[in-house]
């Protein structure tokens, strides 16, 4: 009994035991399903049949899949516009909210709110109604005498922007992280700068921004992964990737392949390709890190 007690209270063992709930969940709900999907990606699987092994066929088929390339285009366009816009927006709002005033708590909560709702189905439905041909946006345009017959969701150049706008609107979590690290910047640096007669923009670019680069880096990596994996808004707002596959983001196409086109094996292969793509871009970001991310101390 005593030996057991001693064993359990060893630091390493105690740590493992405390982490066990997570480890079990991680294995059961992530590692095992991933391995199963890896297996499916080498099979002909329709969800209804018994999977049969086909080697690399699902992967080679991707090269000829024109729709897949359209979905890449939509996904990259979405990720590479929405992520920078969202970060710029988040930083701007964080700077504004830094100023101490009585209402600042309420403002912070209000600006964070969209992020709580953003990924939800309800907001996506709201978005569809807003941008539909008889929606709020057109009614407002009509009130000021502009053309109100434009279907924002139906035009091949504007449809993806309704999704980007929704993504940018959910800047709250990045904003909170920016806010926290803005507060970390010592006041003394700003004081020194103002004594030296530095202008506001110069202070921003020479002090604030360099000291924020680790945070920007973190946000960039996280948001880029989110951007590549976006699903709900496209699934609810344009549903099929309409118009003409311009909003057919990668995960939406994967979903349709799996559930609508009876190609679960192919969809599993798509998932692994996306994993490789995300790993690649994250790797690139980490390589560039030493050129632009400031990791020294403040002093």
């Amino acid at each position: 009994m005593k030996a057991i007690k001693q064993f359990i209270f060893k630091d390493n063992v105690a740590a493992v035991i405390c982490a066990l709930p997570f480890i079990i969940g991680f294995i059961v709900f992530l590692v095992v399903p991933m391995l199963i999907s890896l297996y499916y990606s080498f099979t002909d699987f329709t969800l209804l049949n018994n999977p049969s092994f086909v080697g690399l066929r699902n992967y080679t088929r991707m090269l000829d899949d024109a729709r897949l390339w359209r979905s890449f285009k939509a996904t990259f366009y979405f990720a590479f516009t929405s992520v920078p816009l969202r970060l710029i927006f988040a930083l701007a709002v964080a700077m504004l909210l830094l100023k101490a005033s009585r209402m600042v708590g309420i403002y912070r909560a209000m600006y964070y709110l969209p992020s709580l709702l953003g990924g939800s189905v309800a907001v996506s439905i709201l978005w569809r109604r807003m941008f539909f041909v008889d929606g709020t946006i057109n009614s407002l345009l009509g009130l000021v005498g502009l053309n109100r017959n434009f279907n924002w969701l139906g035009n091949t150049s504007t449809a993806i922007w309704t999704l980007i706008l929704l993504a940018v609107w959910q800047f709250g979590s990045s904003m909170l992280i920016f806010l926290a690290s803005l507060k970390q910047i010592p006041e003394t640096l700003y004081e020194a700068a103002s004594i030296d007669g530095s202008s506001k923009s110069r202070t921003f670019f020479r002090i604030t921004l360099p000291l924020l680069t680790p945070t920007i880096f973190f946000n960039l990596v996280m948001q880029m992964i989110n951007g590549f994996l976006t699903f709900t808004p496209a699934f609810i707002i344009t549903r099929t990737g309409a118009p003409a596959d311009t909003t057919l983001v990668y995960t939406l196409y994967m979903y349709r392949m799996n559930f609508e086109f009876s190609s679960a094996g192919y969809a599993a292969a798509m998932a692994w390709v996306m994993l490789a793509i995300i790993a690649f871009f994250t790797f690139i970001l980490f390589i560039t890190k030493r050129f632009w991310v400031y990791e020294g101390g403040y002093s």
């Binding site: 209804l48 941008f131 041909v133 008889d134 449809a159 003409a244 799996n258």
Partner: protein
């Protein structure tokens, strides 16, 4: 202590034995069933009413209901099939029936039909055959259906245009042009499900679009569809694709809804659907819209018209209560009271006795649908339906919709689209 444990274990064993016994198919005893269907508000309401009626007649059988829209149904059902928690009774479709049978997910119903637990004595042999795959009968049609064109009757009347069955392609184009010139209201031949009209145009020439061997006919055979679409877009009478995106369900189908009456170009005078869709669309229609039903435009109507089971009920092989499930389908088919509620929303009832008896309760749209079906099923007016589409046809149909969109947007010519569609289809099927 040991004694207590022993008693406890015995008790658990006894309990689990008892629950095993309860699971056996016991038709007079208690049974819990789950019924799954894809639906719309009208259908869901009527189905629930019939489930309640059934429960009143069979108080020991409890039915849990599960319903989603068509778009989510098959994905969810396939997931349930893997997980082993499929509903006992499922609504099935002609397009999926074969795949479900081939993978062993459905029960052969012949034993129940022979023992009359599933009483199909008033159902014509030809209708019974619609559920046959190979040797067995795996599904019971719960209504008959024909491909058709719905049109805004009041609108055409007000413009002095009369529609008669078996109109030619040229008639259709002329009417479309006249409607557009007279009212600004457009035509929809492509958006929603482009395969409905594409298939009709191929059937004119006796070509079956999708089969396990590949695409029927030649690439050029697929061009007529895109040619008509291009003509409609160029001349202005076809609805714009950009005005279709974002619409949902029957309520926003352009044949019944345009949003703003000042913008007639957001509406269409017609749509190509199956005849059972009339009830749902008519219910969703704006006031003043009465829908009429006629054949699809075709230069060889006898070859292109067809009818089939609108949908089926099938019993899944995962059920513990097959006999109770069969009793439910039997009730559905034969009960006057049930069919008085259902009418033709899922198609015209398959029992001839029931169909005759409930005729007096038909609403105007039920009558329209049943008269139309009578016309199509009379000898010489139609040709048997194409064989069920092979697996993965969904991919091909989605590509056809994409091509229709792209042609309407001017990204492809009709000839390119036809060739592209033909090649894509063969790539998936072969």
């Amino acid at each position: 202590m040991r004694k207590l444990t022993a008693i406890f274990l015995t008790l658990i064993l006894a309990l689990s034995m008892a629950s095993f016994a309860a699971c056996g198919s016991d038709y007079d005893g208690e049974a819990d069933l789950m019924l799954g269907w894809w639906g719309n508000p009208v259908r869901n309401e009527r189905t629930t009413a019939v489930v309640d009626l059934f429960h009143a007649d069979f108080p020991n059988i409890y039915i849990e209901e599960w319903t989603v829209g068509w778009g989510d149904y098959w994905g969810a059902l396939a997931t349930m099939a893997i997980g082993g928690d499929m509903p006992d009774i499922i609504q099935q479709d002609w397009a999926y029936l074969e795949e479900y049978v081939a993978n062993g997910h459905l029960l052969d119903l012949r034993p129940f039909i022979e023992s009359n637990v599933l009483d199909l004595r008033n159902v014509p042999e030809s209708v019974l055959e619609l559920g046959r795959i190979g040797e067995g009968i795996y599904a019971v049609s719960i209504g008959m259906n024909a491909i058709c064109m719905l049109y805004d009757k009041n609108l055409l009347d007000s413009l002095g245009i009369t529609v008669s069955h078996n109109m030619s392609i040229q008639d259709f184009i002329d009417i479309s042009r006249d409607v557009y010139e007279g009212s600004g209201i457009r035509t929809n031949m492509a958006f929603g499900d482009a395969s409905n009209f594409m298939e009709i145009l191929l059937r004119q020439k006796g070509i079956i679009m999708l089969s396990p061997e590949g695409m029927g006919g030649e690439p050029a055979d697929y061009q007529q569809f895109f040619d008509i679409l291009v003509q409609g877009i160029e001349e202005g009478w076809h609805i714009r694709y950009e005005d279709m995106v974002g619409r949902e369900g029957n309520e926003q189908n352009p044949v019944v809804w345009g949003g703003d009456p000042m913008q007639p170009h957001l509406r269409a005078w017609n749509t190509f659907v199956f005849s059972n869709m009339l009830t749902g669309l008519q219910n969703a229609a704006e006031e003043g819209v009465t829908l009429g039903m006629t054949t699809m435009p075709s230069d060889n109507p006898a070859a292109s018209n067809y009818f089939r089971a609108s949908m089926y009920f099938a019993i899944t092989s995962q059920t513990q209560n097959a006999e109770a499930a069969a009793a439910f389908i039997s009730f559905w088919t034969n009960s006057f009271a049930a069919n008085q509620i259902l009418l033709t929303e899922r198609g015209v009832p398959i029992s001839t006795v029931v169909a005759d008896a409930i005729y007096e309760y038909f609403t105007e749209s039920d009558r329209t649908a049943s008269e139309f079906l009578e016309f199509v099923t009379s000898p010489g007016n139609s040709t048997p339906v194409n064989p069920a589409r092979p697996p993965r046809s969904g991919d091909i149909v989605a590509h056809l919709n994409y091509l229709a969109e792209s042609v309407a947007l001017g990204n492809y010519t009709a000839e390119e689209a036809a060739q592209n569609f033909y090649d894509f289809g063969n790539g998936v099927l072969r």
